[in-house]
């Protein structure tokens, strides 16, 4: 009797264990390099799936910026026989598109999925890949400038013409500004040292200055703030970090939130949806960050309606 009890107990435990195992989803993640934005996207994805009640085992791989390792990781992930692959940033996603054919692949933090060859179109991806783009919502950013400063007729932009990402953003800004009757004045820099000079060249030529996601300019943001404060020239950025440094406002992509939204797409795929049928998404909820001190220094009064919507305020 005792033996029977032990045996049945063991059998029950084994059954429970195997049932639990059957529910555990294996998810392999590849990320080209460690970087705060990309790390946050990964954390958001993992937290998002956990909150959605998915019992997942994550295998995280980071290529340390190395192209060969990036390819080797794709092979490693095939071995792990995952239910889903997440590729963070463009290079990892491209290798997955080339090497992984039978496993659904999600990508996130990819600026231009069509240009990168990952999907046929944003609406109908077509293959076994879909995901999210992190292209800054420049149209909404220009609208925010217009809301805060309704009289804006000319906007100055400082950017590095050598950054492909900035060039495409500036083109998007021009397209968004035209219907609002806003003229764009460009000042390009070759390196961070040129930012101060470029900012000065805009004084008197525009009603506000807007900075796209440009690594060169953002790394010398303080010199922009100095010029704008001295000349009462309102300064707007496209990333939250720069608001803390002295821009008046930004309407920006939060990578953690993007990871969570990617997780919601992942849940759909784990539940049986086909990546080919899931359109590429961009971030639904954008956060407004405000710097009221900077607004005062640059002679701007922010409308109450915008202040009420702000997620974070520097005073």
């Amino acid at each position: 009797m005792k033996r029977f009890l032990v045996l049945s107990l063991a059998a029950a435990m084994l059954f429970a264990a195997s049932a639990a195992l059957a529910q555990t989803k294996v998810i392999s993640i590849t990320q080209i390099v460690e970087h705060p934005a990309l790390d946050n996207a990964r954390k958001g994805f993992m937290d998002g799936l956990k909150e959605a009640g998915v019992d997942a085992k994550f295998n995280v791989h980071i290529a340390q910026g190395n192209s060969a390792t990036n390819v080797q990781i794709a092979g490693q992930m095939l071995d792990e026989k995952p239910n889903l692959v997440l590729a963070i940033a463009t290079p990892g996603a491209q290798v997955c598109a080339q090497k992984i054919k039978d496993i659904p692949v999600l990508f996130t933090a990819v600026s231009d999925p069509v240009g990168a060859g990952l999907v046929k179109s944003m609406q109908a991806p077509g293959g076994n890949l879909t995901g999210m783009t992190d292209m800054p919502p420049v149209d909404k950013q220009i609208e925010l400038i217009k809301t805060i400063l309704p009289k804006t007729a000319t906007v100055g932009i400082v950017y590095n013409a050598g950054e492909a990402n900035s060039v495409s953003q500036v083109n998007a800004v021009k397209a968004a500004a035209a219907p609002l009757n806003i003229k764009i004045v460009e000042a390009t820099v070759a390196n961070s040292g040129g930012v101060y000079q470029a900012a000065k060249s805009l004084v008197g030529k525009c009603d506000a200055v807007y900075i796209p996601l440009d690594n060169t300019v953002v790394s010398a943001f303080e010199s922009l703030v100095k010029v704008c404060d001295e000349n009462k020239l309102p300064l707007f950025s496209s990333d939250n970090e720069s608001v803390g440094k002295g821009a008046i406002a930004a309407l920006a992509v939060d990578y953690y939130a993007m990871g969570k939204q990617t997780a919601a797409m992942g849940k759909k795929i784990l539940d049986g949806a086909k990546p080919a049928d899931l359109p590429v998404e961009s971030l639904k909820n954008l956060d407004i960050h405000l710097n009221l001190k900077a607004a005062k220094a640059q002679g701007v009064t922010i409308p109450e309606a915008v202040v009420a919507k702000a997620v974070k305020k520097f005073e």
Binding site: Q31, E34, V60, H61, I62, A63, Q64, G65, N66, S67, A68, T69, N70, V71, Q72, I73, A74, G75, Q76, L78, D79, T90, P91, Q94, V95, A97, Q98, K99, G115, A116, G117, L118, G162, A164, N165
Partner: protein, 294 residues
């Protein structure tokens, strides 16, 4: 190690074997530390990808890519020999210039080849599984390049190049222009590196301006690991060692990627540390072996 990981490492080791042969040529034969490779690898990738994008045959696109690599290396050689800029600095200058040039060539920092015909498609069309196609094709390329290099070192020109690295004073006395030898040698080296870049881009589905980062580290590590495995010897043996070293280096990384020791497991961010450890081990192994023997 599992099948995919093993084949993946073999494939990467063989395709980067071309690059390692290039690094061997400058580093060991010419005694010329050449950092141009970090820029000429994406240069080959960029040229080949843009040509394929314009409708060129993928095999044919390897020619302009290789030629572009030769030119890049020759520029480094000329900066060093004609303008008397220190070799290390000359190669760094070419490397940073190539960053801008590569973006110019592609028109953007990343040029996709997804959905385009590549060199691998002709093999998979024969029914070879895609996981093996790369390994077979790259093995053919690298073996041919190694044989060509062995043949070259036995020609009069090759002998003059060997002597340029070994004993420049003696070879100048014999009437050979060491400057020309350096320009030719660095050019040939970067031609191999660019060919490697072109094949890598076609294998991974895109050329990226940042894909060359760390090429020189992988190249030197592979050369040294190869020397540790096969020991110093004749040139032909050293050239084979370079290719073996490249494969061994990628196998070591594949092992490091999959390693788990009970409760302890490496974090993905430890990979660079593990890589450094592998190279240090390879560097010190011969000395340890000698000490043990004594």
């Amino acid at each position: 190690m599992s099948f995919y990981a093993f084949i993946g490492a073999l494939e990467q080791g063989l395709v980067y074997g071309l690059m390692v042969l290039g690094v061997y040529l400058t580093f060991r034969i010419l005694d010329f530390p050449d950092l141009t490779v970090d820029g000429s690898l994406p240069l080959g990738a960029a040229v080949s990808s843009v040509c394929i994008g314009a409708g060129m045959d993928p095999y044919l696109s390897l020619l302009p890519a290789t030629l572009a690599g030769f030119c890049a290396g020759a520029v480094t050689g000329l900066l060093n020999t004609r303008l008397k800029i220190l070799h290390l600095l000359a190669s760094i200058l070419t490397m940073i210039a190539l960053y801008s040039i590569n973006i110019r060539i592609m028109g953007r920092p990343n040029f996709t080849l997804l959905g385009k015909t590549t060199v691998l498609d002709s093999l998979t069309a024969f029914g070879l599984p895609s996981s093996l196609a790369g390994t077979c094709l790259f093995a053919a390329f690298t073996v041919c390049a190694a044989l060509a290099l062995i043949w070259f070192t036995r020609t009069e020109l090759g002998q003059a190049m060997l002597a340029t690295g070994d004993n420049p004073r003696m070879i100048t006395a014999l009437g050979v222009n060491t400057g020309n030898m350096i320009v030719l040698g660095v050019g040939l080296s970067n031609a191999l590196v660019a060919l490697c870049g072109a094949l890598v881009a076609q294998n991974q589905g895109a050329a990226d301006v940042n894909m060359g980062v760390g090429t020189i580290v992988a190249g030197l590590a592979s050369v040294i690991i190869g020397e540790t495995l096969l020991g110093q010897g004749r040139i032909s043996r050293m050239i084979i060692a370079a290719v073996l070293g490249s494969v061994a280096y990628r196998l070591a990384i594949a092992l490091a990627l999959g390693v788990k020791l009970g409760e302890f497991s490496f974090s993905p961010s430890d990979l660079n540390l593990i890589t450094a450890f592998i190279v240090v081990t390879a560097l010190t192994a011969p000395r340890l072996k000698r000490k043990m023997a004594r």
